[in-house]
């Protein structure tokens, strides 16, 4: 049984803006074969469950509807692992500046 999400919760909705068959002309094939999708965040207007068609009020006060997808959606972007191909560069150029870096 899915949990009920409280009215007023900060959520993300999902909606297909244009289905795959109705996209603009002159698109590359790969893009034409997929829908134009939209995701927007806002406050939930009425209690609902994940996957329900819901209404939200956005940060500027617009009412938008869509499928309830996430509650209090996280920012998950970051840095990830260090990149070894970049880590050696500082050492190399400092050696060049000292005059012991050798040639390419």
């Amino acid at each position: 049984m899915k949990q009920t999400i409280d009215k007023g919760s900060w959520v993300q909705i999902y909606r297909v803006v244009l289905p795959a068959g109705e996209r603009a002309p002159q698109l590359p094939d790969d893009t034409r074969q997929v829908p134009l999708e939209m995701r927007v965040k806002g406050r939930l207007v009425a209690p609902a469950r994940l996957g329900d068609e819901v209404e939200i009020v956005t940060a500027v006060g617009r009412r938008l509807s869509g499928v309830l997808e996430l509650v209090n959606p996280a920012y998950t972007h970051g840095f990830g692992e260090p990149i070894a191909e970049l880590s050696a560069i500082g050492r190399e150029v400092r050696a060049l500046l000292r005059g012991d870096g050798g040639e390419l």
């Binding site: 803006v17 603009a24 995701r39 990830g80 990149i83 150029v93």
Partner: protein
Amino acid sequence: MSADAYQAIMALRPEIMRASVGIDYARYNTGVLAFDYERLLADTGYDVEAAAAVQRRTAVGDTPLVELHNITELLRTVAPPGKGARLFLKDEAANPSGSFKDRRASLSVHEAKKRGYPGVAAATSGNYGAAVASQAAKAGLSCIVVQEAFDSQGIEQPEIAEKTRACEAYGAEVIRLSVGPELFYVFLQVLKETNYFNASLYTPYSILGIETLGYELANQVRQLAGRFPDLVIATHAGGGNVTGTARGLLKAGATDTQVVAASVDLAGLHMASDRDFNRKSFTTGHTGFSLPFTTWPDRADVPRNAARALRYMDRFVTVTQGEVFYITQLLAELEGLERGPAGNTSLAAAFAMARELDEDQIVVVQETEYTGAGKHPYAQLNLARRMGVELLRGDPRDNRPGRRIVIPAHPSQLAVVDVDLDRVRSSYLRHAIESLPEGARLDEVDLEFLAAETRSSRAFVEERIDERHRKSG
């Protein structure tokens, strides 16, 4: 939105645009193609001083000019004797939202407030969104930003994800879309529904806001070194950065300064491709924008693009993805500045070009931006690997956008590739002819306009335009 609604919005485009920008572009037309560019800009009422005064009220501009002593020393180790110009960097990350885009947003938001619009909207996936949101927050206006943010697998481009976060931090509504140019139609729908001001990147306000950047840096260099810079390099995408900076340099009197447009080479990747979206490793400053916008600027979200880069560039060069990542690392480790990605494209070009200049000459990289989660080489290169792009050290000439990123093995390998400006000019003229209404012919004023647009001559234009497109006599 149904297909019908989509067509209906399309049809309303001219009205929506006129209401949301408040400029009657048609009144500047002087020929079939020609329009009075200078008057379009002048009629806004902002000269450099007036623009700077608005910007100072929100702490935009007056950013530091930093001499890159250590990178200069390094480039001299790989330059011929007596060669290796001094490198300077305009630290635009010091602006309130962390990039020079605050300059572009400031006049638009100021105008929106002055004219009583309830809010501002912008179609942008980059720093500009954060800049508009930041300025709107200060002005007490509502703000909506429409982004192209993720592919059909739901995978976000990390740099854009950071922009989403920044815009939301400033209180904006962010509409995130999957890949495709129909973003513009969603944007039109938003403008129609909200009656917000269209804080387009390409209005006169946006370009006049950048003039202060060129003006400031010319005066800063003169104060520091007793002369104007020899070369100013601007990362080039939609053309605003090059146009505004060059105009500011001219207004400061730096008429002999060469303006170089620099882009990351993304040849082979399609800008509207869902598959290529997360294989670019750069969200802007690349040839996917700069080539189409230089060869035909009027493809923007306003009827006349105020960014007309071909009028102002002395050279147009490209660098590889790997070279930009390499120079980003140098900037952090040799100068103690973690900046970019924007700006580092021109820094990579500057490093290569400064090697050819004399030691007493001055090269300025005219912007930086803040670095952070998502906006970092690690984030981009980890995503590239996830998408199957190969990453290795070696010769940057082996870099293949979307397939292989090659981080240079040695600083001597950094080089620029010149884009042939005469080919760009010819391409512009082809677009101009294609845009002619059926049966229309070019008048005197149009030929003069095309010469100015392509920074060429009447002779050059006439040589490339067929007789049948011209009025006789």
